[in-house]
């Protein structure tokens, strides 16, 4: 089935409805006019006939017709007949068919050869004279009754195609105008498709018109904004991920080559192996986090729900980072102000706390102090604070630390933020909580996890 564009369909509908309305109104006008004219002609016929009857008298058995008898009036002709159809007097109407039967007091329409007629008969009965018929006749042809109406019909028939064309043109221009913005939308979409330039915009909403299509265009532009932004973020992420994965791969590759080329030098080989092992651990960790985040993005991580003792989590985390902390002579203190247990995914919560603690040690000051505090706020949320007294985070970077692979500008640290904080943020949010950071350069940072919980009924 061939489908027409909305524009074409709209144009035809418009023309169709227009023509229908015009035709209906003209038709009503004509029918009414026709009826009125015909009714006038009919009443003229009866009046003329009846008046003629008034002029017929029967005196002493003889039919007496007045001299001033009117046989014609306004298109109505009157003829007086004997009962056998012999005309006695009067004016016959041309082309009126012969042998039309008489019928008393009834207006009928009879067909002649080329046109039709109205006929009206009246009977005069007299014992002496017998039956006398007075017949009134008039043309039933509208052209004869009312040439004006006939002309109107003709004109209308001539005007109809012209009106049709006008209606089509009107429909065409109206729909073209209405759909002009749509064309721009299509062109922009086509351009974006052809050149994959996501920075293009339709932009017609800036012209200030507030119609529906302009609104659609505006929404499209907004959508393109966010698509472009997501696309850029995605690209940056892939770029960063590839950097983070390629660098250790490069080290592993070159170290392996070097070790193979120096097999007799046991010390060199051993060192190369240690480096390869370290880089492999780094990659494993990164891949693990990447996969975790990818699963989280797809909503495929299912939280297991157990009763988790947060105080215990902090203690465990502190214990497992002891050696790391000792290497920088950092002292870790755990302060559980209130025992809190909540329903959560133990492994994930541990991971979140571990990430924060490991960052605190990594960015902490040599011989410094890291503290972990568990408390409860007024709203009944569990609060975990992890604070260090290390290098801190510059104000311009603090909003970006949650971004994947965010790298502070000009920071001497190659590693960047990696994925740890992005992952931690996701874990906290998956538990319905919040995470925030306050920091001052040179003084240290405090990361706060806020987790909602219902206190176990005691």
């Amino acid at each position: 089935m061939k489908s027409f564009s909305i524009k074409t369909r709209l144009m035809f509908w418009y023309a169709f409805v227009m023509i229908l309305i015009v035709m209906l109104s003209v038709l009503m006008l004509l029918i009414t006019g026709d009826r009125l004219t015909r009714d006038g002609a009919k009443s003229n016929l009866t009046v003329t006939t009846d008046r003629a009857i008034g002029d017929i008298r029967i005196n002493e058995g003889k039919l007496n017709i007045d001299d001033d008898m009117v046989y014609y009036s306004n298109g109505a002709y009157v003829v007086i007949y004997m009962d056998d159809g012999t005309p006695l007097s009067g004016l016959e109407l041309e082309e009126f068919p012969e042998n039309v039967k008489f019928e008393e007091d009834k207006i009928r329409e009879v067909d002649g050869e080329s046109k039709s007629f109205y006929v009206y008969d009246r009977l005069i009965e007299n014992k002496k004279v017998g039956k006398i018929w007075v017949r009134g006749m008039a043309s039933a042809d509208i052209e004869e009754i009312s040439p004006a109406i006939a002309r109107m019909i003709k004109m209308f028939l001539i005007a109809l195609p012209i009106m049709l064309i006008l209606a089509l043109l009107g429909g065409y221009f109206a729909s073209k105008r209405a759909f002009a913005p749509l064309k721009e939308i299509n062109e922009t979409a086509q351009k974006i498709h052809d050149g994959s330039d996501l920075s293009l915009r339709i932009g017609i909403h800036q012209e200030g018109k507030g119609d529906e299509i302009t609104e659609t265009a505006r929404l499209f532009d907004e959508m393109l904004d966010s698509v472009e932004k997501n696309f850029e973020a995605e690209k940056r992420f892939t770029d960063d991920a590839s950097h983070e994965l390629r660098t250790p791969t490069a080290v592993i590759l070159t170290q392996s080559e070097y070790a193979l080329g120096n097999l007799d030098n046991k010390a060199e080989v051993e060192q190369a192996l240690r480096i390869i092992l370290g880089q492999s651990h780094k990659m494993t960790d990164l891949l693990d986090k990447l996969l975790m985040l990818a699963r989280a993005d797809n909503g495929r991580v299912k939280l297991s729900r157990d009763l988790v003792d947060l105080g215990l989590v902090l203690e465990l985390s502190a214990a497992s980072h002891e050696r790391e902390a000792q290497s920088k002579n950092i002292d870790i203190s755990v302060n559980v102000a209130r025992e809190i247990s909540l329903i959560a995914d133990m492994a994930l919560i541990e991971r979140a706390v571990d990430n924060l603690l490991s960052n605190a040690i990594k960015y902490g000051r040599q011989d410094g102090h890291v503290s972990m505090i568990l408390s409860e706020d007024m709203a009944g949320n569990a609060i975990i604070d992890v604070s260090d007294d290390g290098i801190g985070i510059p104000a311009e970077d603090i909003n970006h630390i949650w971004d994947r692979f965010y790298r502070a500008n000009g920071a001497g640290d190659h590693e960047g933020m990696g994925l740890g904080l992005a992952l931690t943020q996701w874990i906290v949010q998956a538990h319905g909580g919040e995470i925030s950071a306050v920091s001052e350069v040179g003084k240290g940072s405090t990361f706060r996890i806020t987790l909602p919980f219902k206190r176990e009924e005691e």
């Binding site: 690209k235 892939t238 770029d239 590839s242 950097h243 983070e244 994965l245 390629r246 660098t247 791969t249 490069a250 080290v251 592993i252 590759l253 070159t254 170290q255 080559e257 070097y258 080329g261 190369a272 480096i275 370290g278 880089q279 000009g410 920071a411 001497g412 640290d413 190659h414």
Partner: protein
């Protein structure tokens, strides 16, 4: 040939340096952009292996600085990123070559040889003068039919001289190109190595190739 390796991943930096030194290059290396700039200001390196993502000053900034200051070093950019924009931008700003991590060390070597060759106008890895042939890929030197064994430092000196054949090279110039900053030798080390080299490639042959230009330095040429 003197090479600067600028790479902030310490493990990669170390191994590149060791590998290049094993190939007879004299290598300096540094871990960040600012330090690299200082090295580049002090020495005209034949080749610089430059990572793009560096702390302090990015590889791209360094590249721009080098080209703005008409440094003649051949620069090979290293990147771990995927995006083609980096590559285009790097080459546009005057990088001579571009490599994506991870790469095989052999490939890096091949590119370094290609770049030094390009600079000297030689079309293959084999440099010739009279009947002396120096194959820099195989580190093989022959004169006539006789193969000559050189130490890596001697080879490095010969490599430098043969890529600049016919050009008079001053002692400081030679020193700069064959010794890195870690080398602590006597001040007349260039003369010492020239003497070693002469012994091996000139002494047994009629046509001498290494000539002393009084007051200026040394030149490798026929006649």
């Amino acid at each position: 040939m003197r090479i600067l390796v600028v790479e902030d991943e310490r493990n990669l930096n170390n191994v590149l340096r060791k590998q290049l030194e094993g190939q007879g290059y004299s290598v300096d290396s540094c871990l960040d952009g600012k330090e690299a700039k200082e090295y580049m200001e002090m020495t005209e390196y034949d080749v610089i292996v430059l990572d793009i993502m560096l702390p302090g000053m990015s590889g791209m900034e360094l590249l721009k600085w080098a080209r703005d200051n008409d440094l003649n070093s051949q620069i090979i950019m290293l990147t771990a990123r995927d995006s083609i924009e980096d590559r285009v931008k790097g080459l546009d700003q005057g990088a001579d070559d571009y490599m994506t991590k991870p790469f095989a060390f052999e490939e890096l070597l091949a590119r370094i040889r290609m770049l030094t060759r390009k600079k000297s106008g030689n079309k293959t890895n084999v440099y010739k003068i009279a009947d002396l042939k120096v194959d820099v890929a195989k580190m093989k030197v022959t004169r006539g039919e006789k193969e000559i064994m050189l130490t890596s430092r001697e080879f490095s000196l010969l490599h430098y001289m043969i890529t600049n054949k016919g050009v008079v090279l001053s002692r400081p110039q030679i020193e700069e190109h064959i010794f890195n900053y870690d080398y602590e030798g006597a001040s007349n080390m260039v003369d010492v190595y020239i003497r070693y080299l002469r012994k091996k490639i000139d002494d047994d042959f009629e046509v001498k190739l290494i000539h002393t230009v009084r007051g200026k330095g040394y030149v490798l040429k026929e006649i």
